[in-house]
């Protein structure tokens, strides 16, 4: 009887854990610390839709994406593009395949996105806020709260 109760309790605890929402972190849109140009949230959407491909200075924007399974990409895609990360990634890849991509994004994991932004003054990317705050040489342009 006691063993049965313990098993049942463990089962309910497991259910409770599964039911709890996964704490998603805020996402920081980042640029090189030497880049003082600003883009609005709406303009960032245009950049990731490839309607806008240059900075106000005229330099081409080198844009970076996280892999579609990264929670930060899901937050970014939902909040900025209004699409799920899966659909946004498919659209991005579709444009590249059908040769209509005018400024394709580069898909990298967070450390490489940060490294690229630190190195390149024309880069634009996004990573989780705590990670962005731990990196020198980048400027946080916007914070997207989950």
């Amino acid at each position: 009887m006691h063993q049965y109760t313990s098993t049942r309790s463990a089962f309910f605890v497991l259910l409770l854990l599964l039911a709890l929402p996964v704490a998603a972190e805020s996402v920081a849109i980042i640029v090189n610390s030497d880049n003082m140009q600003d883009l609005s949230i709406e303009e960032i959407k245009y950049v990731y839709n490839e309607n806008v491909i240059t900075w106000p200075s005229g330099k081409r924007i080198e844009r970076y994406d996280l892999p579609p399974m990264d929670a930060a990409r899901e937050t970014f895609s939902r909040k900025i593009l209004g699409l799920s990360a899966r659909v946004a990634a498919r659209e991005e890849q579709g444009r590249q395949v059908n040769n209509s991509a005018r400024n394709p994004s580069r898909e990298k994991r967070a450390p490489l996105v940060a490294a690229a932004v630190v190195r390149n003054p024309n880069a634009l990317g996004y990573v989780t806020l705590p990670y962005a705050e731990s990196i020198h040489g980048i400027r946080i342009m916007h914070v997207i709260k989950e």
Partner: protein, 390 residues
């Protein structure tokens, strides 16, 4: 005194030795840090060098799809179809120059030759024997090969063969990114599949609205890449505006004019729209063409479809109503075209892999002659489409 001296020397040694040892350790640590910094710098440079080298490489990717067909149509048998295997070759030639090509192998092509079949004489009257084709199945097609010069956001120039910029499906036409294997009926009929020539395209911003244009001039339909059979060049244009409504909204129009090698004139026009609202996507195209011969009756073609897809995680559910009439002008009835109602199910196993199940209910246009009347039938296509490479 001697004891005191010994104690003093011992005390000094005890105090100084660890300090000396610590100083050496610090020096070593600094050297190690310097070495590590140097290694990091070298690694960064190597990474940069590899990335630069990678950008210089010709990139090869592609896609494949395979289908299983089952149809109620008379004489049809359930069958597998190795529909497409396509290879893309891309290269960033220079900062603003890009190369793109696609070689498509359709239906698992097989070609064998027959030796000693044809003998021809050259200009010096020397005989040469060439092998001719014995068997041929499937098709190999250079669907696209072009060079793009990215002058500025509002103007890119493209030279070579490209998919005719018209409507939606002809532009976004790759199976891994389409809801169905079977295209709407009028696609690639009213507007030609590809265009050989020059084109200019770009995007112009008007605050929150974007105008995308693509204008082109080419040899026109019915010509190989070798040249044009007539002096008239085909002309076409596609304009689309992206509006800040819903998640994404695009409205556009397309136009195409050509004179065929048999002197028939073709004028085609179309409008299209696509609205994305969160996980819903609705798209539609309407196109028509008038083909005018030098004498005799004109042919009027008309096609349109409306497709709705709902994305739910990895799944996509959809429906499409599709109509095409290959001649509306003189009341002629088509025995292959008409209405197609399609129910669509997609499963995106990964961003580059999709399983599709589509069920088509085809109702060919009915003729007045009962003997020729075609009955409605349905058919299903199960398929997998994979994009190879990033």
């Amino acid at each position: 005194m001697s004891i005191m001296r010994r104690i003093l020397i011992g005390g000094i040694m005890t105090t100084l030795l660890p300090a000396t040892a610590l100083a050496l350790t610090k020096q070593e640590a600094e050297e190690k840090i310097q070495n590590m910094e140097q290694e990091i710098m070298f690694s960064k440079e190597q990474f940069y060098d590899i990335e630069t080298e990678m950008n210089r490489f010709m990139r090869i990717s592609g896609y494949m799809d395979m289908e299983y067909h089952a149809s109620e149509s008379k004489g049809s048998v359930p069958q597998f179809r190795l529909h497409h295997f396509s290879l893309f070759f891309n290269k960033n030639i220079a900062e603003k120059w890009r190369f793109f090509s696609e070689i498509e192998y359709q239906d698992g092509p097989r070609y064998t030759s027959k030796e000693e079949d044809v003998t021809v004489n050259d200009t010096d009257r020397n005989a040469h024997t060439y092998a001719t084709l014995k068997d041929a199945e499937g098709g190999i097609f250079a669907e696209a090969f072009n060079i793009t010069y990215q002058y500025k956001p509002a103007l890119d120039l493209r030279f070579g063969r490209e998919f005719t910029p018209a409507g939606l499906w002809n532009v976004d036409h790759y199976p891994p990114y389409l809801a169905t294997q079977q295209a709407p009926q009028h696609i690639r009929i009213i507007f030609p599949r590809t265009t050989d020539g020059l084109s200019a395209f770009g995007t112009q911003r008007f605050t929150n609205t974007f105008l995308n244009y693509h204008v082109y001039i080419g040899n026109g339909e019915g010509n190989s890449g070798a040249g044009d059979g007539n002096a008239s060049k085909s002309l076409g244009a596609r304009f689309a505006i992206t509006l800040p409504a819903f998640t994404q909204t695009e409205l556009g129009l397309s136009y195409y004019h050509d004179t065929h090698n048999d002197s028939r004139r073709k004028d085609a026009q179309g409008i299209h729209g696509r609205v994305k609202a969160a996980d819903f996507t609705i798209q539609s195209e309407i196109a028509s063409a008038t083909i005018t011969p030098t004498s005799g009756a004109k042919t009027e073609e008309l096609g349109y479809y409306l497709q709705a897809i709902y994305d739910w995680g990895a799944w996509g559910f959809g429906y499409r109503y599709d109509f095409y009439d290959d001649n509306t002008a003189n009341g002629a009835k088509s025995d292959i075209y008409g209405v197609d109602n399609a129910v669509i199910l997609n499963y995106h196993a990964a961003k580059n892999t999709v399983f599709k199940l589509e069920y088509h209910m085809e109702s060919p246009e009915q003729t007045k002659n009962a003997a020729d009347e075609k009955t409605a039938y349905s058919h299903a296509i199960a398929s997998i489409a994979v994009h190879l490479g990033e």
